[in-house]
Symmetry: C2
Subunit: 868 residues, 2 copies
Amino acid sequence: MKDIIKKASLAIAGLSLLATCANGTTELQKVMKRRHLSQQDLLAAAKTYLPSGHRDKYMVFSSGGQSGQIIVWGVPSMKILKYIAVFTPEPWQGWGYDDDTKKILAEGNIRGKKITWGDTHHPALSETDGKYDGKWLVINDKANPRIGVIDLRDFVTKQIVVNPVLKSEHGGAFFTPNSEYILSACQYAAPFDNNYHPMSEYQAVFRGGVTMWKFNDKTGRINVKKSFTLELPPYMQDLSDAGKKVSYGWGFTNSFNSEMYTGGIEKGLPPFEAGCSRSDTDFLHVYNWKDLAKLAKDPKNYKIINGMKIIPISVAVKHHDLFLIPEEKSPHGVDVSPDGKYIVVCGKLDTHDTVFSWKKIKKAIDNHDYIGHDPYGIPIISMKKTMHCQAELGLGPLHDTFGKDWKNGEIYTSLYVDSQVVRWNYLTCKVQSKINVSYNIGHMCGMEGKTETPQGDYVIALDKLSIDRFDRIGPLHPQNEQLIDIRNKKKMQLLYDLPIGLGEPHEAVAIRISKLHPWKVYPIGWDSFTMTPSKYKTLAGQERIVRKGHHVIVYGTVVRSHINPEHVTVNLGDTVTFHLTNLERAEDETHGFTVDDYNVHTSLEPGKTVSVSFKADREGVFPYYCTEFCSALHLEMFGYLLVKDPNKHYVSVKSMKMKKMSPKQLKAQYDKIVATNNATNKVVLGVVKFLKTNHYQKYPLIKQLINNNAMVQYAKVAKQQKLAEKNLKEGKIMNAILFQNEAFQYLVKTATVGIRAQKLLVLKAATPMSPAAKRGHQAYLEGGCNGCHVIGKVSSGPDLVGVLQRHQNGEKWVKEWILNPKKDYHTPYIEALYHYFKMHMPNQGMTGKQVDDIIQYLKWIDKNANLF
Amino acid sequence: MKDIIKKASLAIAGLSLLATCANGTTELQKVMKRRHLSQQDLLAAAKTYLPSGHRDKYMVFSSGGQSGQIIVWGVPSMKILKYIAVFTPEPWQGWGYDDDTKKILAEGNIRGKKITWGDTHHPALSETDGKYDGKWLVINDKANPRIGVIDLRDFVTKQIVVNPVLKSEHGGAFFTPNSEYILSACQYAAPFDNNYHPMSEYQAVFRGGVTMWKFNDKTGRINVKKSFTLELPPYMQDLSDAGKKVSYGWGFTNSFNSEMYTGGIEKGLPPFEAGCSRSDTDFLHVYNWKDLAKLAKDPKNYKIINGMKIIPISVAVKHHDLFLIPEEKSPHGVDVSPDGKYIVVCGKLDTHDTVFSWKKIKKAIDNHDYIGHDPYGIPIISMKKTMHCQAELGLGPLHDTFGKDWKNGEIYTSLYVDSQVVRWNYLTCKVQSKINVSYNIGHMCGMEGKTETPQGDYVIALDKLSIDRFDRIGPLHPQNEQLIDIRNKKKMQLLYDLPIGLGEPHEAVAIRISKLHPWKVYPIGWDSFTMTPSKYKTLAGQERIVRKGHHVIVYGTVVRSHINPEHVTVNLGDTVTFHLTNLERAEDETHGFTVDDYNVHTSLEPGKTVSVSFKADREGVFPYYCTEFCSALHLEMFGYLLVKDPNKHYVSVKSMKMKKMSPKQLKAQYDKIVATNNATNKVVLGVVKFLKTNHYQKYPLIKQLINNNAMVQYAKVAKQQKLAEKNLKEGKIMNAILFQNEAFQYLVKTATVGIRAQKLLVLKAATPMSPAAKRGHQAYLEGGCNGCHVIGKVSSGPDLVGVLQRHQNGEKWVKEWILNPKKDYHTPYIEALYHYFKMHMPNQGMTGKQVDDIIQYLKWIDKNANLF
């Protein structure tokens, strides 16, 4: 036995892993052999595999690069959970295809121009005391200088703000430790104004800057009026970070063109890439955002350009709020240590990371210890005097992230050119170990690695090239995000390659999932953008079509498996608005809505009320339907928009057919209409009987409705019918048909008004509702029950009159059924119902209290059963 | 020892799997414990985990639902490799943000309206002899009846066609066995014309249909003119499949509203869901597409509506090409067995799948054995007589896929309501085993399961709800695609849950990856939409800016790490076009391009030439840059678009500054300009010397250039300088500066023309190139070498004059270096070069032959070194 174990065992960290037993290789071994997996591969699989329904530990929010989105995935499973639409229209989410999201996107218009994409770069999570609080997420757009704000209750973008003075914006977004401000730096210097200036005026007019966006952590909105921009020289500012603890109140931003080179390859000059990297050092900008924020309150300290407060360089210098420190040439990342004591700058074109000591910087600032001033008058502090240490890391150090043992110096840096991650110690500047990545890593994501609480066993390499890592899909390759296990200090282990098939993740932040508290469903009739009840909330039974001039407004509902209304007829040229409420209460019961060929679409998560508007600019018949596969009857969940030209005379195909009919066929047609009229009249008489029995005259409103409206319509019926009979006798059968049709119109109008009166009378005539029954009625409506059940009638679901009597221990049965319908799905009774209605009772997520109230409402119904 | 093994071993299929050794639990066991993994989980991990750089066996193409895209992933790894943009603009790919892709999207305009999304449903891969040939992929849009065609050489959409008669299109796309046609059926019946018709004319005017799109398998394009539509009754046609082998030439389409119910819930009528499922059966449509295609060639058999040929029902019936067979009520999938002998229809609202026998159907057709006719005159064939068998599967059978043992009846069906996959036998109609999925499975994807060659060990459940499977991300949940191992007939195993965080995959097709042959890079200067050389191809050295009236055309290049040109100045109101060629030959070296605030973006894969146009409608300074993180100097890869208002007078900041200058400062300014002029004059004199030495007068074109252009400009210099000196003497220093500036303008113009003449002269004066050197010159240009190397000058890369002499065994060294630069990256010489140029020589993917030719070209350069 020992021999067998020995033979089959393979070493991982010195321990035996696999054994065969007497009857041969295990199934696992067979699979490993078949799939060419090594022991290390198996270990990596075990470290990342997430069985169905299990949970990840961290959630990553990565920018989507040029997709203009944010990508959300779990760690360690590396499963992508969502693409959050931010700057780019995305129809699955309805983003930019319904009224509400069009409004958010329009906030991002620049100088009146619609911008329908973004080059997202740096996501940031809101912080309280320097730690992630799981409430808000922001992201910048480099190409069109904007910031998007995402609400982590529903993972939806709620605000877009435009930077009116910068022309590109790369070095953001970075929250200050209590989310007071979002720092966001310019990239390519340009004039703050919107005018033409020649390249020769680069030094004179082109400017960089850092915008401090004021953030309200309660509402999750940027306050543009309270925000300001610090003017900076045209040094091409790059990344930033905010100080923490001892360095709290300060901001740090580096730069890559302190040469102020202006390019011109087409004129035979060296290209930008050469000119911008001529000098051996560039500048780290050090500024006191807290002091500057105070200055920005006094108009003498700022000028206003394009509506944005600008604090000029001279003002910042005068108040000792802005300094420069030389740093390795054309650096990239700048990262403040969790205790705020060190600022780590990556060399990019240098092989070093430089660790600056905040204490030393502060001392130089306090002592006015400058080595000179730049051409714009900004004091320059000595690099040598403020440096803590410098580490030789390799080629192309780009970005850092701190590890959980940061107190003892644990830090990781990406090496772009070497395609490696290096673990080193930022206190001693000693390199510890390296791991190869595939390939050309840009940013790197540690678990909460940019906060005061770095943690976890992983870093993620955001590789820019994947080259040969994946199956080929043509010249455009996916990106490659690699999960690396950092438990073993001496030897990091590559765990997983995640291809990104849409977008180029630039930077990512990771948060412990337990800090997030997303909503499961919206309250019924919810406006998810203001996060308040919608003014267009529509419950079952409240559906209606309202015309206001040339605007047709549909208040509709959606519920498995119908859209109410199903027919909407409008005139060519009308504006049509659908306000739709999803009545579902069950998690994940999302519906969608589109009108064919009208380029609108929306996603209706449970409870949400959404609006969709468009101009009915083409005549015709346009199906609309639910676009989410919501139930077995999903395909049957549709309706028709009919767009009629009011200036056109339509010849009915039916009447054309009638022209070709024989007298016998015409008589049959006449008889059919008479039969319909008789049936309709029966409905009217039924209503009349109900009204009289229940003394409708006692109630003025109802009396008025009947006498002044219904009776007037009804009186016209007999006249039309007489005319019909007269024409019939005279052999004018076509006319007879038309008069009977007219009678039908009056009958329908009578019935409509009568039924409205009947409904009102029910409430008057019935016994009064107890407070509990009233609450129950409300819960019944808000819970969407009305979507399938019609009281007094078998509809898409059974009639609920008598439901408490139909079952033994009726109240108990009903309560359990509502709270957990699934458990009874296979009882014979429910199976029979299923076969009739073709739909199961869904779990609408009611509380026990709500169900108790509903039972009181059902009792009230039973007491008044005669009225329904 | 035995005891320890026993204690630790866990049974999988009766085999012992894990063992501890004497010194405790293994690392694997620790990981499993920490992550709560069972033995089954570990096995599933081993079956799906794909180590870095390994390859998958199958590639899945799934529709993206309402995202309007296609999602590509690998099996068994379930890693998403790409979202292919089809109907929806997607900026990462440049889709809809550059000229070329805007054209493709515009093909999808409907009645003049731009439609910017699609509800993609059913992808299909092109077939040869009923087997996937890996060449083309098509997908339908349900909401806006269209088809998109994707080229699998580069996984890019190449065509969009609009169906001009259908108003929604669900039941497509399905290829016929040799990709002759793509079948695509209507969903919601509507009038074929574009006019208003009331709902009451549903039976008279509303119609369904199946469009047979003619496909050219060579060009990969749909030929709209050769396509036609078979008119069908308004039965709400659903899915389709094409017959195979014995049933080749026939098509099968089912339906769900043979009731012809027209809805009207808002009028108190039962909703569509109830009315459409009233009858116990609907109709399977059986039609002979091959015969119909012949009929469609004779105008007497069709009418034309909105430009589409329509074969009326009556014509199809008359020619015995259309039949109906009753099928279980409101069915969903219809699937033809790999041998074409059986047609399997899923019940959806019935618990059965019905297997029809093609032999029996054909017999009834041949014998005119009908049980009646529908109201439109279509013969109805008996269900009973044509049925092979019927299987009771469970609640909500939706879709089928065949297994590799299909000859013995292996088939899988999704059960929507039961949330299960059932394995059964379509020959015996016996159920074999079931597995639960999470939750509400729609379509199902077997490996090539819809072709004549079903294979593989997996089916994928495309679940519509995920509910509790993943970490919560708010009310909108991801979808859940579950990989199921079907090796074990008696017990299927769930392997992997893949969340889809963007879009709702509706249907998917899987192909063996070895059948695909995607390109790695494009040939240089390639138009990827026509797949031919681009007429805008621009090589290094050919960059230019051309003005044609109000159109400014930039012929530019991109290469690590610059865009050429770097400055583009235009007038407000100009139309600007950038034709850009990516000079890279290395795989995955994609660049991107955007102009800030102008809402354009493009993705430039290696070799591609793309065009980006926009109107310069706002004055100002707009950076443009490479949006892909392409090299360490990526941030430095940018330029400026300067938009000048031609009607505005600009006051130079410099001249304003001069006004404030002291006489001494002004004199310094004057001296600076004189120095610049002297330096420029030296360049001119150098050129003149070169021209004279090489006898430029001998060449008429060059002579003309010099005498009629350069000399004319140069003659003006002296005059301006004299005026400057005169003014200086008179103390009019401001004027003196202006005249020197003027002199500078003429000097620059002289130099520009002179250098052009010099370049021409080099070619004339040099020794003639051998054919090999000529080829080498071409390879040098096409290979993008010119992007970094300038002959005779150190530029972004070293000067290549003398490169063969600089190295021992120069030719050998250069050849090896070009073919595999990476291996020398860490030699001291190359490291030194790297430190100077900050960029490594990339592997441009040259062939040995090409490099040999380039060496001949370099030899030619050396021979004529005096000319450079």
